[in-house]
């Protein structure tokens, strides 16, 4: 018996000591990056060689980037760029943790808004205001990557999160493709409906894409430009009159979206559009390539759901500057990463990217040869609102606010939907 109790005692002591060591091992408290404290520095200089990890989320652009990488490597001896691609949801949720260590993402892209802010606070960015690249961009399109005086990132892509329109169907139905106010927009939908097509194909079952319509609906309804940030801070509420007015306009749209819209995923929504069953696809210009890939041969333009009653809205459209390029301050190969960013920012290379992926870029002096891009380039000059939903920092808040619109399309009353969303916002203030 005494042997067993001796063994037990040894085991107990071991467990206690072990426990103490363990607590030291995995207790809370970590190390913040020192970079965050003193402010971002310019990327270090050096030879452009070695391996650069380029982290982003656009799997659909992989082949195009591969070609650009080939051209970049031809210019610099010994340099190798590897793409580290995750899906956009994953990237949004996890990129910060991944890039912090510096093992991936020597050069990287971020979303506008919350992710950009998180990265800034964590000190991941380097200062790019004196870089070779920054001068190549259209001045007005750089704000998404700016923090105070520093230019931390370069927003590469310009997308228009506005419904795409099948011009042929519009012509056939005699519908007005640029409605001047809300009544005109609804009238246009009715004309399309009576021509036997679904006016709007809306992927309500997909949060990311279904929420793009929100950018358009809120742009002229809100009293200020940073309305989403203010909602998140509690200065504006979902239960305010202007928000409820917007929700009522969503309610107006209910008869014009396809049946079971709240359950429709992206591909089916795209298919309705590309097969000519729906006249509009309420996502954005970033889907042009996908829709063409599904067999759409008709000319495509963009429609802005003009929510004003008198046609005197501040904005005639919505855009988003995203895919913000940056150089990782934790990278061991900053010189090469910066050179890669510079390379991408040259008009010739940016143009190649734009035309191959059917997206506009914020780089200046780019020649658009892609017919779709050409047709849409007037939008680059119009007075478009910067997509507001990316002002949200907290994903739960964003989802709750956007869910109020989905709920209205499902049949909930605007007042109820607004109150439910505001409840979630209040809890997170």
């Amino acid at each position: 018996m005494s042997q067993i109790s001796r063994r037990q005692a040894v085991a107990l002591l071991g467990a206690m000591g072990f426990g103490a060591a363990a607590a030291a091992c995995a207790g809370p408290g970590g190390s913040t990056k020192p970079g965050g404290a003193t402010g971002p520095a310019a990327p270090s200089t050096g030879a452009v060689t070695g391996r650069v990890s380029f982290a982003h989320w656009r799997g659909e652009d992989k082949a195009v980037f591969d070609e650009l990488i080939k051209r970049f490597a031809a210019q610099h001896n010994g340099v190798e760029v590897a793409q580290d691609i995750s899906t956009s949801n994953d990237y949004n949720a996890q990129a910060l943790q991944k890039l912090r260590g510096g093992s991936i993402g020597d050069a990287f892209a971020t979303f506008r808004g919350a992710q950009f802010k998180n990265f800034t606070e964590a000190g991941i960015y380097t200062e790019l205001k004196d870089s070779k690249a920054v001068g190549n961009y259209q001045k007005g399109l750089l704000s998404a990557g700016r923090n105070g005086d520093s230019q931390l990132g370069l927003p590469y892509q310009v997308v228009f999160p506005m419904p795409m329109a099948n011009v042929d169907l519009f012509d056939k139905a005699g519908a007005e493709i640029a409605p001047k106010n809300w009544d005109a927009f609804l009238g246009m939908c009715e004309k399309l409906a009576s021509a036997g097509v679904i006016p709007i194909s809306w992927p309500g079952g997909d949060v990311g894409n279904g929420g793009q319509l929100f950018n358009c609906m809120i742009a002229n309804n809100a009293p200020v430009d940073d309305m989403c940030a203010q909602i998140e801070q509690g200065k504006l509420k979902c239960t305010d009159d202007w928000f409820i007015k917007m929700l009522n306009q969503y309610k107006d749209l209910k008869p014009f979206v396809q049946p079971n819209a709240t359950g429709t995923a992206v591909e089916p929504a795209q298919n309705l559009f590309s097969q000519g069953k729906a006249a509009m696809l309420a996502t954005g210009s970033y889907h042009i390539a996908a829709v063409r890939g599904l067999g759409a041969k008709f000319p495509i333009d963009l429609v802005f759901p003009n929510t004003t009653s008198d046609g005197n809205g501040k904005y005639e459209g919505a855009y988003n500057a995203t895919f913000i390029l940056g150089v990782n301050s934790a990278s061991k190969n900053q010189a090469a990463a910066a050179a890669w960013i510079d390379f991408l920012s040259e008009p010739e290379n940016a143009g190649y990217y734009a035309n191959q992926t059917a997206q506009h870029v914020s780089v200046d002096k780019v020649e658009y040869t892609n017919p779709d891009l050409k047709r849409l380039s007037p939008w680059l000059q119009k007075k478009t609102a910067l997509a507001a939903r990316f002002q949200f920092q907290n994903l739960d808040v964003r989802n709750a606010v956007e869910a109020s619109a989905t709920a209205v399309i499902s049949g909930t009353s605007p007042e109820q939907a607004a109150a439910a969303a505001q409840k979630i916002v209040d809890e997170r203030l």
Partner: protein, 318 residues
């Protein structure tokens, strides 16, 4: 380090043995335990202690802080996280209610289905064996695979369900897009996924019942229902408690299935505790996430305990 018991035998001394020509065998009495045996479980115990038990205990420490997962600074906030979860976080309470609804539905449906299937396939005929193999099949697929299959089935525009229903002129609705129903449809998927697995457990139990009992009952004139009540059920009751317990824990977790079918993060109508914890973690609220995970553990323990009480109360017993 090993503490050897003395070789002085504590057990029975060998009987007829002269010390002179007895073989110098290290005689271990059958009741003596070789201390080297204690080394055997050591790696397992160490691994479990260090990577399983310790982090779980650690979760308690995290739960009383507001640590965000990467800063050096954090505060001890006592029970604030727990209070917040129950009173100031409708997303959490929503996930909790969803989880309980889901578990209740799945447990009832899956237990019933698997029992019925097992009753129909107890005999070892060729057909039964084949069908058993077929019904068991979904279990081996990964939950992401099952999620994708059913996501397609539920697609209101091009998916299987509505395609079939449309041929008889019915519109099944938005399924996952209908917030009031979405959770129930996912419950259907879960039952499809695992009924075959539980069926196997029931079959094992049912096959242990001796045929003579049924034959005797037949001769006594008992009908099928009476036979079920007095013969089958008592044998099946222990299997039922296992099936119920296992299904409860399994459906409480359901993390993979929800992520696959509803995306990451899932919308409020499909959010359950495990996905809520993950969202909180991904939102860099490590302390709060740890508190939620402790509540999660407590919930599972509570529900499991409640079930065992309830099942024991039924007169059939074990």
């Amino acid at each position: 380090m090993s503490i050897h018991p003395g070789t002085a035998a504590k057990g029975k001394a060998p009987e007829s043995q002269t010390s002179a020509n007895a073989p110098k065998v290290r005689r271990r009495s059958p009741t003596r335990v070789n201390p080297a045996l204690y080394l055997f479980p050591l790696p397992a115990v160490a691994v479990v202690a260090f990577f399983l038990v310790m982090p779980t205990l650690q979760a308690f420490q995290y739960a009383i802080t507001d640590w965000n997962g990467f800063s050096a600074a954090f505060n001890y906030v006592g029970l604030d996280n727990f209070i917040r979860a129950f009173t100031k976080d409708s997303l959490f309470t929503n996930a909790l209610t969803n989880n309980l609804k889901f578990v209740l539905l799945v447990v009832i449906a899956q237990t019933a289905f698997s029992l019925v299937l097992a009753l129909l396939l107890t005999r070892n005929s060729r057909g039964s064996i084949l069908l058993r193999a077929l019904f068991f099949f979904p279990t081996i697929l990964s939950s992401v695979s099952v999620a994708f299959i059913w996501k397609f089935i539920y697609d209101p525009n091009f998916g299987l369900a509505n395609s079939v229903l449309r041929t008889v002129g019915v519109d099944g609705g938005a399924y996952l897009g209908n917030d009031a129903q979405a959770l129930y449809w996912v419950a259907v998927t879960q039952v499809w996924f695992h009924s075959g697995q539980m069926m196997v457990v029931y079959i094992a139990g049912l096959q242990a019942i001796p045929r003579e009992l049924y034959e005797a009952a037949e001769m006594d004139g008992a009908n099928k229902w009476q036979q079920f009540k007095s013969i089958t059920w008592p044998f099946v009751a222990p299997a039922t408690s296992i099936v119920v317990a296992y299904t409860t824990v399994q459906s409480f977790k359901a993390f993979d299935l929800i992520l696959g079918i509803a995306g990451n993060p899932p919308k409020a109508a499909l959010d359950i505790l495990s996905t809520r914890i993950y969202s909180t973690f991904a939102n860099s609220e490590f302390g709060y996430a740890a508190a939620q995970s402790i509540i999660f553990m407590a919930m599972i323990a509570l529900v499991t305990w409640l079930q065992r009480r309830l099942l024991r109360l039924t007169p059939k017993g074990e």
